[in-house]
Symmetry: C3
Subunit: 265 residues, 3 copies
Amino acid sequence: MDQPAMTLLDPRDRSARGVAIEGDVTGRAAAAPATLLEESWRDFVFAEVWARPGLPRRARFLVALASAATCGLADTQLDDFVRGALTTEALTLVELREAALHLAVYSGWGNGGRLDRAVTRMSKEKGLAPAEVPPIRPAPWDPEERVAQGHAAFHKVMTFPPGPPSNPYLEGINNFVFGEMWRRPGLDERSRRWITLVGVCESGADIPIRSHIHAAMASGNCQPAEMLEFVLQYGTHAGWPKASRINGVVLDMIGKVENGLPWHG
Amino acid sequence: MDQPAMTLLDPRDRSARGVAIEGDVTGRAAAAPATLLEESWRDFVFAEVWARPGLPRRARFLVALASAATCGLADTQLDDFVRGALTTEALTLVELREAALHLAVYSGWGNGGRLDRAVTRMSKEKGLAPAEVPPIRPAPWDPEERVAQGHAAFHKVMTFPPGPPSNPYLEGINNFVFGEMWRRPGLDERSRRWITLVGVCESGADIPIRSHIHAAMASGNCQPAEMLEFVLQYGTHAGWPKASRINGVVLDMIGKVENGLPWHG
Amino acid sequence: MDQPAMTLLDPRDRSARGVAIEGDVTGRAAAAPATLLEESWRDFVFAEVWARPGLPRRARFLVALASAATCGLADTQLDDFVRGALTTEALTLVELREAALHLAVYSGWGNGGRLDRAVTRMSKEKGLAPAEVPPIRPAPWDPEERVAQGHAAFHKVMTFPPGPPSNPYLEGINNFVFGEMWRRPGLDERSRRWITLVGVCESGADIPIRSHIHAAMASGNCQPAEMLEFVLQYGTHAGWPKASRINGVVLDMIGKVENGLPWHG
């Protein structure tokens, strides 16, 4: 299944591979395509992108879920990826709930909510019990302790220390994003990276794009070859032009990380 | 209600504050959160963002409505903000109709339409009579007069004179955007700023972002501290990466306005 | 019908023109506007933008369809443009199916799917037989041949030769985007340009924006005056701030193409 698409020579082989992968990824039998566009899901997106080696299935699911929720895919398509992730056990219900909150932070609460509602629908379809997810912050806290925790989490995640939280935006970053959300145990740091990467790519904002692509590799969470595969997986949901920019930044940041340089170096 | 979130020490206090604010902002009783993401609306977005001082509730509603319509929130969430704005009398029905047209200009007619349809739904829910809004331009006009009116309105709004309307895009800017829309009486200039700011932030386009953030302050319509609060309020809908870029531009433009420099200075 | 909007003097004339054009463009009788925003569709978007000379109706439909699918217009509005394009025979069903695939590549498979589903709905409404569209690639192929075909198509479309496909993103560009999609016969190259242009404009990514705006003119597919009209047509769906940036790039690239310079020159 995981051989490069370049070895395909016959359109019937390509289609058969697409049908098989679509079944895994959506958790349902592939429907016969009714239009050219549906055919291209089978013969390109599933048969030639999802089939590639270099990025594990779990990571592809996280990229697909995050970008499906932000790039205008239909609810039924978002449902498909959630069903596929649950059915193949690539992600648990707890992880999906954490993924929705993480996406809210990096792509806005509206897009996070789209994913969360898809998780609710598929959870019901599969008859699952509600996820046992710990609350945002269960115990009383010392405000200074939260600031310190936020600083430490920022430093770990970004691989460089934060500036002082001197304005509302930076306070929110410190208190909630790093002081609470990134410290939650229900989803590992590597998985949070893929969601974060989709969020920064969709933002179009240069500093977050560069600093997070750098941090994903500098932290050791994501490998350079995986980052290049990420661009193609993301591009099918975001379109080639957005992916073009990200490909250039990934290549640039691979060089910096290899040479021990910071993202802005 | 309007004390900084930093003074909260107990999660029960935070949740109680979130429930109270959610009731105000949505015009309905807060529902018990069923998921982690819904919990984060209560315990972060409402309890720690909407609770902050520094930006009046009316401005927060305008930012929330504009960004909810453009950043992928569900129709029911857009309805909530419209209901809350009408119920608390933060905005009138006439103002909401003007806001939808203003949003169409700065975020496209599709997103303006999303807001307009939410206003229609909530207007019906509350049994309101149709808003008495004057037509786009009721009386016959002299084309040269419209051009002159557009120039004058551009100069007032942007705080610098326009170039000549020498191509189709600039003609449209002059004739309709400034010659008609910004001159309408049903919504004050300060309120139009918040909608404009969301539109330019979402565009990702550098010149509109910088020039409008500068003009919002140079005109006296918006204060520097309010602009910093705007970034956090906008960020909950747009996600942190987009807000990161805007925070940097706001800080830059505060310096320019304080020193009497133009946006490109 | 195709005289400049500047000659309008009376709001009743403007509204009457808007009603007439709305009927053509949507393939249904114009409804009386119920809100200010609906009035602005009639009195500005249809009466003053679609009425302009300088960009043929077929091109305006392609721009409208692509940007309606990506900029948050309601499904019913997307349906309107599809119905209008079919009813006026501006585009055939085959061309619309190709347009949806082309949009998927340049704006992501989600947005392409939105257009594709609208085409399916309107095809049913009009009782049309399914489009006879050739499959993605019907016959077995030699991988090296596909690479070579992709290189040649890239060179023709972009007007400069591609680099080597040395990473996953570039392989996807070469194999599918240029090696298969751009080579399909069902939609002419000029029409593919308008969809591509909307895709790159929405991406916000500098290199695709600049290189594709340049290539659209350097190839001879699109004329400079048409490109300036494109900005206004796109702006009504994308909002003025995004169009502002594109207007600047179009003016810049017109100068480069006139002087025989490359896009990055």
